[in-house]
Symmetry: C2
DNA sequence: ACCTGAACACCGTTCAAGT
DNA sequence: ACCTGAACACCGTTCAAGT
């Protein structure tokens, strides 16, 4: 019925020179990922969002991988800025503050979380190094409290793996509805049948009402207990 | 030069009825993933590998997601069978044995590792439940040692996150050459510059020669130390 | 009931331009 | 120097058949 039945592909005007730059594209990539998700970020969708031709993206980033690497480095910068430097008086409070904040920042920002803990294949040294400034202060605090540098590093590593693992699991649970804890999740799984063959788990699951946060706290506090035992052992045998 | 210059698409003979089944496809999917990787497993490549038409796959699995879910469930079955049931006398030895084996089985089989710890979006309750039989025995052992069922569950959860996190990181390091530990990895990163602004890390890194296995062991032993402190605390205050 | 090729919408990327 | 559409190889999936 329209006067124009031919395919008219809604042509976009050609952008003027210099109207695009790498930062602009990077910001658009974050904006679009936040609207939808990092998984659904494609070069075509990004170009449409920015109202530019797809191929223009390739002038600033040689590939999608390169763009994702830039996003990852930027994610670590943002992450670094949101963290408050470790400044508690006692080493255990410093650890608590650091890793609680580590977790909550990533929990509140799915895109940053994906770039920091899920899509680890895009992490570049530049991004890591920036973030490591906070880690350095935390390590210094641990060494000051009596841990050897090697112990401090291993303690940091172990807790870092635990926090990132917690965030990773939270992220994957988000896809299937609201985030529940391990106990609640398991309860639902056991409900699907075969519960009678798993008596200890069934009992534990019905005795537990721990939230994801409770479960995280348990792991964190348990690691701190373990580290305290390391220090206590040193104090008892001051020779080594 | 050949007598036939026309495009001849190397036609495959039509398969006879009943010559394909779901198990056959699943086995082929594992075989092909092992040759290459799970990431590079596509429906077309799988069909070619099995010498069937792509669309035939869709008679047995409605989608690639459904095929991956079947692979995930099978991965948990294989994983379960490779684990030896927890049978050590002391609870801490049982924990050690369980989580060391947990880690080494996944370390030795990248495809199973990917399905169990990386591609968690495909995990179905059926797979999890099978595996949980070993977890049930471990939990029973912990409760027998004096932990409450809720504590035992949280301890299991915390260590499970740590082990899976360790395997996840090992997997991502495999892509970029041989697997190194956190310390060695960081040393290389710091070498890229800016080391002087990170004195504590630099010192720790040069003081540490821990392998990935050492780092895993530290985290495992530290968690066990923490749990031992929980028991000790109970013994000291027998009221609660 | 089972197996299939053609076709579709989408993906990342390259090429050969336009300005 | 910067921006672009057409085209390519590949992806998962649907459809309308063949047997």
């Amino acid at each position: 019925m329209s006067s124009n039945d031919e395919a008219e592909p809604a042509k976009r005007q050609r952008r003027r020179r210099g109207s695009i730059n790498a930062e602009h594209i990077l910001a658009g990539a974050f904006a679009l990922s936040r609207e939808d998700s990092l998984d659904n970020l494609t070069m075509l969708r990004l170009a449409d969002h920015l109202d530019i031709g797809v191929t223009s993206l390739y002038w600033y980033y040689r590939s999608k991988d390169e763009l994702f690497e830039a996003m990852s480095t930027e994610a670590f910068r943002i992450f670094y800025e949101r963290m408050t430097p470790p400044e508690a008086e006692h080493w255990d409070d410093a650890l608590r503050q650091y890793f609680r904040e580590f977790r909550s920042i990533l929990k509140d920002d799915p895109v940053i979380c994906d770039l920091v803990v899920v899509r680890v294949e895009y992490i570049r040294p530049e991004g890591l190094i920036v973030f490591m400034r906070h880690a350095d202060r935390l390590l210094a605090k641990l060494v000051g409290a009596g841990f050897t540098p090697a112990e401090a590093l291993q303690a940091y590593n172990a807790l870092s793996i635990f926090v990132r693992g917690s965030n990773f699991i939270d992220r994957s649970r988000e896809a299937g509805g609201h985030v529940q804890g391990f106990a609640a999740d398991l309860k639902r799984t056991l409900g699907a049948g075969e519960a009678e063959t798993l008596p200890a788990l069934t009992a534990a699951v019905s005795a537990s009402d721990a939230s994801v946060d409770d479960e995280f706290e348990f792991g964190l506090e348990n690691a701190i207990r373990g580290l305290r035992a390391v220090l206590a052992d040193k104090a008892a045998r001051p020779s080594a």
